[in-house]
Symmetry: C2
Subunit: 279 residues, 2 copies
């Protein structure tokens, strides 16, 4: 782990690290916020993983969301990985589209060439990165949750549902809940996972929750003025599947909010408190 | 005024507008946050002008600082202009340096060619923009303050000291307090105002406060880990001049904070409360 940057923020410390990933065979960067030791002690701290959406790097959330204020007050460590492998030899969308390839790893393990060589984001998020930070940082491995936005909301839901003992709490802002049924997800999965749609089910929150609901409560906030709501997000699909399966889930429709960080910032304190109370 | 963007944020509304400026003879953009009407009524609202630092546009503060949470709670309107004229025909630093020309207008009226044609930021900030927004938006002209960061802290201090009845309250984060005595200011003023340093005094907060202190209290926060502290900022020069002149001023040295938005974000709530209590 190499420290790329660090700054004091709300009494805590916001840093970015880089390391050579065995999962993606690239250098990967991730952000780490550590709460103030003079308030919360030296740790280990309850820890949240933040998964970002399309077009983001490890930087967007730490610059745009304002989460540090709440994490500092609540004593939470927050870790934010990048959204895909990057660098020489990592293939991108042939047309350079924003919704596939670089910054669009969809938190899955690709099985199809040429993507499978580097796009192993599921293993990276659920295995390699937690092992790395648990070894190097004051992370409390027994009190860990996950949350995210849009593509990262999809990541948070699927990572939690598949690993409910590892990622005990889960929330999402404007998540892609049914990637197999919407254009963003169908494009990504057809390339990363191939034409056989049965292989997609393992990365689809709406399919997963029907098969294996978790014992946690899941919190979802969704803005009603979100331009992607009707075509790409469709939270009602997850809500219906969760209800049928007995998964506790709260989907809050927030009047007039769009898909931006202004929406995330507005409801972020609620989410951090939600996780803290349950960890 | 043309609306460029708008989004709901903390119950209020964050917008960006563009208009054709008579001061700069260019299109100018500025941001406007309006607090939630269901909490604070339809206005007019007490209003703060935020002046940004080198390299910034009207966007940095609204994306990176998290001020909307506090402005929404306190019922403040916040207006954030760009930091220089831009566009075809606007001259820039011949070497493309970040500290002069585009994004570095230093909130003065240039008197020297070729800068004087467009770089009329003092008139823009103190006359044209206030007249425009007072006409079009629910701004309470009798309750207006100014604050800013770095070059924008210089702007806030000078704009307040020269117009204490118009900009009644003033605070700054890591301001340039004595531009005539530091490299950033000397470079900018020698181009914008010319070689005769007597003309610089009218835009130098440390010189101004000695001649005409205001009746307001001025709040300054400065990080001790700020890489620009010793060479460019020198808050002790302003503190000494203010004390000698009877200007009430509080300069708080904040241990371990740097020059970034992580520092601004940490102490922003204090500043907004400071202004609200005094307006």
């Amino acid at each position: 782990m190499r420290e790329i940057s660090a700054a004091k923020c709300f009494g805590g410390r916001q840093a970015v690290y880089a390391h050579d990933s065995t999962s993606t065979k690239t250098e990967m960067k991730f952000s780490v916020f550590t709460p103030p030791a003079d308030v919360h002690g030296e740790g280990p701290y309850p820890t949240l993983y933040w998964l970002s959406g399309l077009t983001c790097t490890e930087e967007n959330f730490i610059i745009k969301s304002g989460f540090q204020r709440y994490a500092a007050a609540l004593g939470l460590m927050v870790i934010g990985p990048d959204t895909s492998p990057r660098g020489e030899g990592v293939p991108d969308d042939p047309d350079g589209a924003y919704d596939f390839g670089l910054a669009a790893g969809f938190y899955c393990n690709a099985t199809q060439a040429p993507w499978s060589e580097h796009y192993q984001m599921y293993d990276y998020i659920t295995k390699e990165l937690p092992a790395l930070v648990c070894d190097a940082l004051p992370v409390d491995d027994a009190r860990t949750g996950v949350f995210g936005h849009s593509m990262g909301g999809h990541g948070a839901l699927t990572v939690h549902l598949k690993n409910p003992k590892q990622f005990k709490t889960c929330s999402a802002f404007a998540p892609i809940v049914a990637p197999s049924q919407v254009p963003w997800g169908r494009k990504a999965f057809s390339h990363y996972l191939g034409a056989d749609e049965t292989s997609w089910a393992d990365y689809d929150a709406t399919t997963l929750v029907a098969k294996r609901p978790s014992e946690a409560e899941i919190l979802i906030d969704q803005g009603t003025a979100d331009a992607f709501l009707e075509e790409q997000l469709k939270p009602e699909l997850f809500a219906a599947a969760a209800q049928a399966a007995g998964q506790k889930a709260t989907v809050r429709m927030q009047d007039g909010y769009d898909h931006s960080f202004y929406f995330i910032a507005t409801f972020l304190e609620d989410h951090l408190r939600w996780h803290k109370e349950r960890l």
